[in-house]
Amino acid sequence: MLVFGPGIAAWGLVTGVAMTQSGLGVGLSMLMSITVYAGSAQLASLPLIASGAPMWVIWASALCVNLRFAIFSAQWRTHIGHLPRARRLVLGFLLADLNLVVFQKAWPGGRHETGQARYAAGGAASVWLIWQGTSFAGILLSSLVPLEWGLGFAGTLSMLGIAYSLLVDRGAWVAAVVAAAAAVAAYALPLKLNILVAIAAAVTVGLVMTQAGRAARRMRPGEGSSP
């Protein structure tokens, strides 16, 4: 988890600075950091809040940006589903994108095993501490951090390294290429819905590939004339 520390720290700092500089004020920025705890949704909401958009528009935007977590929660269910509901929900709220990424690398089976809930909780605590610490630092020191340096790009670069580390087999490569193309092609969609389109495209292609592979295997012995 700690390999990703610098990347999370860069994002947290930038998000903290962006919140205060958009006119949210120190108190509200801190409240948002603690209660919303979803960097991409926070960043997407800032221009809407600053321009005085209606509250329901801001909520709808947060929902769209966060929809991927609903997909992730189905995967978490396999691993932390045995916990009591209250604990599932608290842990579920604290588990961000990177937690699932790291978790999948540590437990690649996709099955429930003992120790997974503890591993997930440890990861959630690490990300939370780094994120809130740097986010608060950004909120308090916002006037000292020059946003025009484009430090947000540091977060992008660290995610790039994370994405590369996930390219473990052909299926992952295909998913990444499909997702990248879909996200760029669907960029004009509002509310970051291109992320959802990219996930759907990558998952669909993966499904088709496994089905096609299975069909091919089934056909081969029946042909009777293998080369």
Partner: protein, 111 residues
């Protein structure tokens, strides 16, 4: 512009509720939702797809359109990051390599 406190608090708490809803979507019900095995396996690429979907436009899109100039610090920085990763896989190394290309181009040349 400064947001009115009460209005701001309500907006933020509503966003928090939406986040809770999304993150706990399949965690709330007592019975585990039945997801076909093939779909479950295919869903394993979802986090990777989400990350790539965030990163790719940050590198290749400028002002809502596909990048059409090479005088943009982001593409050379991403290339430097990629090369560094090919040499020494990790997160911090490629990040610093990318920034080492990005910041001079941006601050000195204004790319």
């Amino acid at each position: 512009m400064t947001t009115a406190p009460l209005y701001g608090i309500a907006t933020i708490l509503g966003m928090a509720a939406v986040t809770v809803l999304a993150r706990s979507f399949f965690l709330y019900a007592k019975r585990e939702p039945r997801i076909p095995d093939a779909l479950q396996r295919a869903l394993q690429v979802a986090p990777l797809a989400a990350i790539v979907a965030v990163v790719a436009p940050e590198i290749f899109i400028s002002h809502g359109h596909l990048i059409d100039t090479w005088r943009d610090a982001r593409v050379p920085a991403a290339i430097a990051s990629t090369l560094f990763y090919a040499w020494r896989p990790g997160v911090l190394g490629p990040l610093l390599a990318g920034l080492a290309v990005y910041l001079p181009l941006r601050l000195a040349l204004g790319w």
